[in-house]
Amino acid sequence: MAGAVGGLISLPAWASGWTSETVRPLNPFLSRSQDELLADLAETIIPATDTPGAKALNVHQFIQKVVADCYDKPSAETFRKGLAAVDELAQKSFGKPFSQGDTTQRIGVLNQLAQSTDADQKNFYSMVKGLTIRGYMSSEYVMTNLTHYEMIPGRYHGCVPVPAKPISQTK
């Protein structure tokens, strides 16, 4: 019996072949400065506290990759336009590029985007916020340390009491 199951333990080469470098986009969709701006936007949406924020978890790279690879062309265009509008709004609001603003100033710009009468800006806001949340919640750090994702639960229990605390506060 042990012999029969033992064969499953040797892992093929691809199992350990993945690194964060291999998922970098081949043709970067954004320039380095745009990428940094996106990182600051994501960090404003989900900042570092006693745990890392979106920037440290490279959520901006995930966003860039999904928009470049998965979104249709009009949505990608909305995204580019929105990104360009961020620094303009920042200049108007507090006279500096977005990245040089403090938290309150940055949040002010995001709120302006959210309430903008320009459909592109509004859509850009929803897109960046949605992707930031998705990228953050599905990041290795969050899934491993905070939400405790189990690859192999090995069980299903149909009727257990609702846990007293959310999963991120257990363990």
Partner: protein, 570 residues
């Protein structure tokens, strides 16, 4: 030179040839090699070996470049396959891409295929209910197709035989609409599913909610350990290939078992062009194969041939196997080959909420869900449509977080979700009626990349299906209401036929060679050494999932074929 040719012919000669390596082809390979036949298994796609050729099986969610989302180009280039629920960043490698294998949609039909060793057995949803006598006697009673030449009793021992080997989880429910099988322990219910089960039982005599029967090893038996398979680990990412062999696939089970006999030759990249018929001998002598890599045509020979290319492709192979004796396709004396194709109707769904049981939730994951066997028109015709539908059912709770804010507040709320109420959902699995007007044929002008005529598919819903959708929505709404579910929403996604991945028929079984292609042993009426035991052979479609029936029929036909070879009947 003649000597060399004979030598080459001998080298390419086997006792049996199996065309296709999916669920039914894998069983044919196991049974034929197990009975001592040197068997050639032809697979048009590449080899996929258990564990080592499952490239995404151990990947964590964050390791996918797009966290599972499909690349735009892949989506745009594959409008058909992209509709399949199981096609995502982790499974692209196991589906046929639209452009690689074209077909003609005379009417919209989403043909979902997996061309590789193991075929769609890597990807299936693993539901394995037996068919009942209501299914096998239905056509004779209702007059919607020809009478099946077999009954449940013919298959029952073969169901048991394949269930024990494959490993089927389920509960013995004692229902005449859904015969019990050889089950491993059933999966667990959750509180709201149990609640629904009790409410339905209290209100209806003839409606039942049972735990799904599925090809998962919930408790390995010695026969499963001998296959190198282990207990299901509840990962619920089955469609990426299971390294534990926790669910049944040809790759983890039947093919390695066949290989162990030393009698199997597996030949990937072998696109079958046609079956060779020898007019003098009055039998099939072999198979013409186009090597997918070299594009060279080659012939292989055998005493018996099992055709298991999956329903529509088995039709294609037969239709393309022409000779003076069979100008319209091998064994097609009746003219019905390619006709009376039917499928399942998965268009409708019903969802709702439940505000009870808020102090409980679920833990872990379950690769299965409860099931509502067909209850319409079972004992008598009671509606204005023929036949009926089964339904899937499941309940669960969703975590929600307030996503309104920004900054530290948003982060806090994302990491502290609250449990919403229970949601419940159901989807229909309707039987469609085999009709002459639902057919496949060879297109006379368009060829595939191998020079083989493309399959022309002309299949559509009919009035019976529309009525059935409506009835399912009404009856499920009534049952949900009775169970105290609220906010009930019905849908009809009007998906194209085909997306249910349960196409059947075209080479149907029957008693009369004038109206059917195969006899009660899945043997071509007119060519006794050719057997078709995949979905092409189905006379009607039942409401149950078909895979288990393909397995049982294949094992039964292989047994008959080998005995028949000895007696000279084949």
């Amino acid at each position: 030179m003649a000597y060399l040719n004979i030598d080459a012919q001998a080298q390419n000669t086997y006792d049996a040839i199996v065309i296709g390596s999916g669920i039914s082809g894998g069983w044919a390979a196991k049974e034929l090699t197990g009975k001592g036949l040197r068997t050639l298994v032809l697979e048009r796609g590449r080899d996929v070996r258990h564990v080592t050729d499952y490239p995404t099986t151990m990947m964590q969610p964050w390791e996918f470049e797009h966290r599972g989302q499909l690349n735009r180009e892949v989506r745009e280039q594959n409008p058909i396959i992209s509709k399949c629920y199981a096609f995502y960043e982790g499974t692209e490698q196991f589906f046929v891409k639209d452009a690689e294998h074209p077909y003609v949609q005379e009417k919209p039909f989403d043909w979902i295929r997996g061309y590789q060793v193991g075929g769609k057995s890597l990807l299936w949803a693993r539901q394995t209910q037996r068919w009942s006598d209501f299914d096998f006697t239905g056509p004779a009673r209702d007059g919607f197709a020809v009478d099946w030449p077999i009954r449940y009793a013919d298959l029952a021992p073969w169901y048991s035989y394949v269930e024990r080997f494959a490993g089927i989880t389920g509960n013995k429910d004692g229902l005449d609409t859904l015969p019990d099988g050889e089950f491993l322990p059933p999966h667990e219910w959750n509180c709201v599913e149990s609640h629904f089960q009790k409410q339905v039982a209290a209100r209806y005599k003839d409606r039942h909610v049972i735990m799904g029967r599925a090809a998962h090893i919930t408790q390995p038996q010695p026969i499963h350990l001998q296959q190198g398979r282990a207990q299901c680990q509840h990962r619920t990412i089955c469609e990426r290939g299971c390294p534990f062999g926790g669910y049944f696939s040809s790759n983890s089970s039947t093919l390695p078992w066949a290989a162990k006999t030393g009698k199997m030759t597996l030949r990937p990249h072998s696109v079958v062009h046609s079956i060779i018929y020898d007019e003098k001998l009055g039998r099939a002598t072999g198979v013409r194969v186009i090597d997918a890599q070299t594009k060279q045509m080659q012939e292989f020979y055998a005493r018996i041939i099992f055709l298991n290319a999956a329903a529509l492709n088995s039709n294609l192979v037969l239709l393309n196997s022409t000779s003076t004796r069979f100008p319209n396709g091998l064994g097609n004396d009746s003219g019905v080959l390619g006709k009376y194709v039917a499928f399942h109707n998965y268009r409708a769904g019903v969802s709702a909420q439940y505000d009870g049981n808020l102090d409980t939730t679920t833990e872990g994951r379950r690769p299965n869900s409860p099931y509502i066997p067909r209850f319409r028109n079972v004992y008598k015709q009671e509606t204005d449509f023929l036949r009926g539908y089964a339904a899937g059912f499941s309940a669960g709770r969703i975590s929600r977080s307030n996503q309104d804010g920004l900054g530290a507040d948003l982060k806090e709320s994302l990491l502290n979700p609250t449990l919403g109420g229970w949601y419940v959902g159901s989807h229909m699995m309707g039987e469609t009626i085999p009709k002459e007007s639902n057919f496949v044929a060879l297109d006379s002008s368009q060829k595939d990349p191998f020079g083989i005529p493309q399959l022309k598919i002309s299949i559509a819903y009919d009035d019976n299906d529309e009525k059935m959708v409506k009835d399912y929505q009404e009856q499920m709404t009534e049952m949900f209401t009775a169970a105290g579910f609220t906010n009930i929403r019905v849908r009809d996604d009007k998906r194209n036929p085909g997306l249910d991945i349960h196409e059947m028929g075209g080479a149907r079984m029957g008693k009369d060679p004038k109206t059917s292609v195969l006899n009660k042993w899945n043997q071509l009426h007119a060519v006794k050494n050719v057997f078709v035991t995949d979905g092409a052979s189905m006379t009607s479609t039942s409401t149950q999932n078909p895979s288990l029936t393909y397995m049982a029929m294949t094992a039964r036909a292989a047994d008959y074929a080998v005995k028949g070879l000895k007696k000279g009947l084949v």
